[in-house]
Symmetry: C2
Subunit: 154 residues, 2 copies
DNA sequence: AATCTTTCGTAGGTGCACTGACGATACATG
DNA sequence: CATGTATCGTCAGTGCACCTACGAAAGATT
């Protein structure tokens, strides 16, 4: 038998980490608004009127997924979606007052939740944790767009 | 405007980390067999004849999710599923020869993939990375089963 | 033996995430 | 100006992950 200890597999741990966060979010932040939905709201607070695809890029969602998330937020009246008059392909997004309200209201709860989430780690470990995850995630992100073949590499 | 930097939110990073891993798995390990599916195969290599619910517990999947994953693996002929004669509620799972073959074949690729995944980190950082993620995930796992109320806590 | 209570699996519903394909629009080249 | 290419959004399909609710089976209590 060649069974392996999954506890040493970063991918398996990443999945469990995300499940843990999902659970905590659901109990401590909101049952209606999910974490990806909040990320979209947040991106639109920072840059109102952004087009749908760019919002997806900002928060790490592909075109299919951002379309669904935006659709749900629109159905709940948290954002408006209009065609760009300058470029008929684009959909421009903008939060409604209700969307702004929801975003503001969740801020406090998210801060509390993050504290609980990271509570098992000492303060300096928390900083390391953030740094390491970001570096790994960013690196793999780079493999996604395999360096435009403007000049074919040898 | 009260927009926040998501790069400091562990939950958001956890999601991006998992997406990164998904992408890498899909390109470097397998397009047919997913990471959760492999986890199930692995659990059954270690303990053949385990019941469905326990397998789910071992790999971190709830009853609904493990049912779907098992169903897919069964449809592909990678495992057999029989009712426990001793306990008619349980489904006992066992890998087929093909299931064993798939598990064995993926092992090498997964090792390679893990190296690439963790490549952005130095060797000592990789160990810290694993340790920190596991501690955070395990702690949140504990919040799931809120300590049986055998003796009501004060 | 008859009645709770718990446990296991399943079914239905929601939501994220990816792929591949398609139509519409925009842009670039000839 | 016409053709070709790239981009944006959408649609269909697959898969993970959760919740609630339900029936079947097992165990505990009376």
């Amino acid at each position: 038998m060649a069974a392996v200890d999954l506890a040493t597999h970063p991918g398996h741990l990443a999945r469990r980490l995300q499940q843990a966060h999902y659970l905590l979010w659901n109990t401590m932040v909101s049952e209606e608004t999910t974490s990806p939905q909040y990320a979209v709201l947040n991106a639109l607070v920072a840059e109102p009127g952004l087009d749908q695809r760019t919002v997806g890029e900002r928060v790490g969602l592909d075109r299919s997924t951002i379309a669904e998330v935006v659709s749900r937020l629109g159905r709940r009246g948290l954002l408006d979606k209009v065609r760009d008059p300058q470029d008929g392909r684009r959909s421009l997004l903008r939060l409604t007052d209700e969307g702004l309200r929801v975003h503001r209201r969740l801020g406090v709860r998210i801060a509390r939740m993050n504290q609980v989430f990271l509570a098992p780690l000492a303060a300096d470990e928390q900083a390391v944790f953030i740094d390491l995850i970001r570096r790994v995630a960013d690196a793999a992100e780079g493999l996604r767009n395999p360096a435009e073949p403007t000049a074919a590499p040898g």
